[in-house]
């Protein structure tokens, strides 16, 4: 099977349309960013970078968002945000919520916000007044201790670590089979070793609330700004490293063009993030850096071909060489991009809530990154060559050692 064979498109002749397209894409996203920041006084940063508290709660049924909101407001937490999430387990019904809270007073202890949210949840949805520990939040050692004390299997001194193992199995059933939340003690009857006496013993010692804390993140303001600085530095260093490597392997203008192109990709992706209301977190930074690598990859494949063709096609004009190179690699470009796009699309659809921001960045990034290689990076080199490289006299590409390597490869 074969697609895109023998394509002959004058890519460089369309460069001005690419520039217009890029400006449009940039404008759409960045208008949204400016609107968020300056009109709504919001931020694109997730709590990793701005500091604050995030509690991820799962409910046994659809999350009672109105009730949560009321409870939070009564507790004076009116600056909190609530976002419902539908999980892969419960498609169509939003059983999970993420409760966010802005940075508290600086003199408060770090986890004050989290404690208040937990208090509200416990007050609103907890097994009120029972005084028993909640089975949905208890740890394995606590269950093991309770079982050892009550000894429902009448093992006596022979119990050894059997109750510890039983507790581990019970919790694994709770967390893996029931998604972290048990609504009735009947649900754990199928666990190996959980005889009716064991289950009854647990039921008399533990209560069942209708929610479970899945994840809690608290980031102090100092850490937030530190992580922000570190992420920006890491990105700049990574870009700098790539610039140096490409400048070393090709010409500096190729490196500069590639870096400008990936910068363009990052800016457009950030715009789309704002447009679709995603927050920038640490994982999203990883995604942005991935797309930087990916887009760079794509650009290098084309530049490599340009370098090779410059030696074979000495009579043709530089734009023609570039066109030819893009056309020759087009099949590869579309195949790889298509497959990578498929991969990240699967990740976006099946990867769960935690990877959503990451995979969204990749879905946008793969498309933009592929486009920027022929739409931005290549035209920059062509334009530079037109003004500074001299017509019909292709610029020298690659070092002498490089040329020898290529010539040797061609001879083989």
């Amino acid at each position: 099977m074969e697609f895109f064979h023998g394509v002959n498109v004058n890519w460089m002749g369309k460069a001005k349309y690419f520039v217009i397209l890029s400006l449009l894409l940039l404008a759409v996203g960045w208008i949204s960013i400016f609107r968020t920041v300056f009109v709504k006084h919001g931020t694109l940063y997730g709590i990793d970078f701005r500091g604050g508290t995030l509690v991820y709660v799962r409910f046994a049924g659809p999350a009672p968002i109105d009730q949560i909101r009321k409870g939070l407001q009564q507790a004076g937490l009116s600056n909190s945000t609530i976002q419902g999430i539908s999980d892969t387990r419960s498609v169509g019904s939003q059983n999970d919520v993420v409760i966010g809270l802005e940075q508290g007073q600086s003199n408060e202890s770090l986890d004050a916000g989290k404690q208040r949210i937990l208090d509200v949840l416990q007050k609103t949805f907890g097994a009120a007044g029972s005084g028993k520990p909640d089975f949905n939040s208890v740890s394995a050692p606590a269950i093991a201790a309770d079982l050892t004390r009550k000894d429902p299997l009448s093992l006596g001194a022979a119990a050894g670590d059997r109750y510890t193992q039983l507790a581990a199995r019970l919790l694994s059933a709770r967390d893996t089979d029931h998604g972290g939340i048990v609504t009735s003690f009947d649900q754990i009857k199928s666990v190996e070793g959980a005889t009716p006496t064991v289950v009854n013993s647990l039921a008399s010692d533990f209560s069942l609330s209708s929610f479970a804390i899945r994840d809690a993140e608290i980031v102090g303001p100092k850490v937030g700004s530190q992580l922000r600085r570190q992420a920006i530095l890491a990105t700049l260093y990574a870009l700098g490293g790539m610039l140096v490597y490409i400048a070393f392997r090709f010409e500096w203008v190729y490196g500069a063009a590639a870096v400008i192109a990936v910068f363009h990709d990052v800016l457009i992706t950030l715009g789309f993030f704002s447009l679709f209301h995603f927050e920038i977190s640490l994982t999203v930074i990883a995604a942005l850096l991935t797309l930087v690598g990916y887009s760079m990859n794509d650009t290098i494949v084309i530049f490599d071909r340009v370098r090779e063709n410059l030696r074979l096609m000495r009579r043709e004009s530089f734009p023609d060489v570039v066109n030819k190179s893009i056309n020759q690699t087009l099949s590869r470009t579309i195949l790889t991009s298509g497959l990578t796009f498929l991969t990240v699309l699967v990740l976006f659809l099946m990867g769960g809530e935690v990877l959503r921001g990451f995979s969204f960045a990749m879905v946008v990034g793969v498309v933009v990154g592929t486009y920027s290689s022929f739409g931005i990076a290549a035209p920059i080199v062509v334009v530079w060559n037109k003004y500074y490289g001299g017509q019909g006299n292709p610029i020298r590409a690659g070092s002498a050692a490089e040329k020898r390597a290529v010539v040797a490869a061609a001879r083989r």
Binding site: E2, A231, A286, L335, A409
Partner: protein, 542 residues
């Protein structure tokens, strides 16, 4: 098959066997499928985000340790000046590292300089600006650096002992961040870090001190007893605040104590929580002193008992108990104060582990519940497998037999990646799974680059053997360029990134290195093998 090709396959086979053994063959050679599963679970270390647990970042308030050194110097200097009869107006602390001595007797200047040079080598001296005969002492930067370093090391050791005392499994305790004052603590499997946080944060500074006077109703009252100036070498310490009620003033008492303790936490030999003999249902902490401390403590208590002296148990600058010494005490003591069993056990643990040199502040706290971790693994693995299958099916349809070659190379790439992570003990995190998926993407790209090039060469009329050889050679440079660029950026991510970004970089770098091996070396060997068995002019299935 020629011998060179044979050796290639031997090498590939060795790599494959070593890798598979690395993933499933350890720690015990498996004899059943369940054991294979068990081994995989043991060999692949999961990050906190996948197995659940608590992640804490804390900051050591180093300026406290430095400020304490400053206070000690002021005390010492005041005493020395008194002893040597050098008059001065005031000795004042400017900040944590600067001391101001005002209105020194004009005829004592020389003696003062000698004193500072000889007895206070950690401080540099300069005439204070705007003072007629004043001096400013500044803690030397090298001393500050040493102090900070020592305080950080001591904090790390103390916290490690405390966490080990809690009996948690596989904790990570390490320096982190760029500020040189942060410590990272990871507690796998701990769903609620509140209890651990308390033990980590407890000051744990125990002192047994002679009571000079008290108790008083307020600090002001205590001061008033002495006309506003405390006797030399004493200090006002509050009693243990009653946490039960909001009415602060009712129970709060103040004592005037000696500044220098008789015994400190460093003199403890052991500390244990025991049920209280006097208050049923409550607990107390009993401690024993080391022999050298007991040698001081015995005579001291004997002398005090004779004159009806009192002694205070001070914990973290609060008086827990102040009692009249009845008789000589050799080496044991106790701390009471309405402790529950748990709080008494925690206090005993903290005392055994030693005091923190400075207080700490939590900067970051992340807790991943075990159910979320389990979900993330399931979804991550499902997404990875899903995308691998989609990609592999496409490759086989598009490149036919050569596509099968690519599938083999991809699979080997993944096996090497997983095995390498097992061998070096790299931790698999959620972003790490994303890195794996990206590795798949790059692996596909390498294969596609080579195959498209081979197709081009075939179109140009080359025979399959030549086309394959040229295709690989031409694509080689491109593959190296793309991989090196990505590795360069991943290395920067690893060096300058934080937690999740690092996990991503690790899997990506390992995956890319494996990828160069599989997509160039292995894939080529398979092509060569196939070509050696087919007719030179026959069509290549690509």
């Amino acid at each position: 098959m020629n011998s060179q090709l044979k050796w290639k396959f031997v090498l590939i086979l060795i790599v494959l066997v070593v890798c598979i053994y690395g993933v499933i063959g350890q720690p015990a050679f498996p004899t059943s499928l369940a054991q294979v599963k068990d081994n995989i679970a043991k060999r692949i270390q999961l990050g906190l985000d996948l197995k659940g647990g608590s992640h804490l970042v804390l900051q050591v308030q180093l300026e406290e340790a430095i400020g304490q050194r400053c206070d000690e110097a002021i005390d010492d200097l005041t005493k020395q000046l008194h002893d040597k009869n050098m008059g001065f107006g005031e000795i004042r602390r400017i900040d944590d590292t600067n001391i101001l001595v005002r209105d020194l007797d004009t005829n004592s200047s020389g003696a003062f300089r000698d004193l500072v040079t000889n007895q206070f080598p950690d401080w540099s001296m300069a005439p204070a600006a705007g003072e007629t005969n004043g001096y400013q002492l500044t803690l030397k930067p090298s001393v500050i650096a040493d102090l900070r370093q020592a305080a950080m090391n001591q904090t790390l050791e103390t916290i490690t002992r405390r966490i080990n005392g809690l009996g948690l499994t596989e904790p990570t305790i390490a320096f982190t961040g760029r500020g040189d004052d942060e410590i990272l603590i990871q507690l796998p499997g701990v769903g609620d870090p509140a209890a651990a946080k308390e033990v980590i944060q407890a000051g744990g500074q125990l002192q047994l001190v002679r009571v000079a006077e008290g108790p008083f109703r307020s600090a002001a009252e205590a001061l008033a007893q002495h006309g506003g100036i405390l006797p030399a070498g004493t200090v006002i310490v509050p009693g243990k605040s009653d946490s039960a009620g909001p009415s602060k003033d009712s129970g709060q008492l103040f004592y005037i104590l000696d500044r220098i303790p008789i015994v400190t936490g460093q003199d403890l030999r052991s500390a244990d929580a025991n049920p209280s003999t006097e208050m049923p249902g409550q607990y107390e902490v009993d401690f024993k002193l080391s022999t050298t401390a007991a040698a001081r403590f015995g005579p001291f208590t004997e002398a005090q008992a004779a004159i009806g002296g009192r002694m205070a148990v001070v914990l973290d600058h609060q008086v827990y108990e102040a009692a009249t010494i009845q008789s000589r005490i050799e080496d044991s003591g106790r701390i009471t104060g309405s402790f529950s069993q748990e709080s008494a056990q925690n206090l005993a643990l903290v005392l055994r582990a030693g005091a923190l040199p400075a207080s700490i502040k939590y900067l970051e706290e992340r807790t991943v519940g075990p159910s979320l971790g389990a979900d993330s693994i399931r979804e991550g693995v499902r997404a990875s497998l899903g995308s691998i299958i989609v990609v592999m099916i496409f490759l086989v349809i598009y490149y036919r037999l050569s596509g099968v070659n690519a599938v083999v190379a991809l699979a080997l790439n993944l096996v090497i990646l997983v095995a390498f992570m097992a061998y070096v003990g790299a931790v698999l995190t959620l972003p790490g799974i994303a890195g794996v998926i990206l590795t798949i993407g790059m692996g596909v790209d390498s294969n596609v680059l080579v195959f498209e090039r081979i197709r081009e060469e075939l179109r140009n009329g080359k025979v399959p053997a030549n086309a394959v050889s040229t295709g690989f050679d031409r694509a080689f440079l491109t593959i190296i360029d793309t991989h090196v660029t990505t590795v360069v950026s991943a290395v920067f991510l690893f060096l300058f990134g934080t937690g999740p970004v690092k996990g991503f970089a690790v899997t990506l770098v390992i995956g890319l290195i494996a990828n160069v091996f599989t997509s160039i070396y292995v894939s080529r060997a398979i092509f060569d093998f196939h070509l050696s068995r087919m007719d030179r002019q026959a069509q290549l299935s690509i």
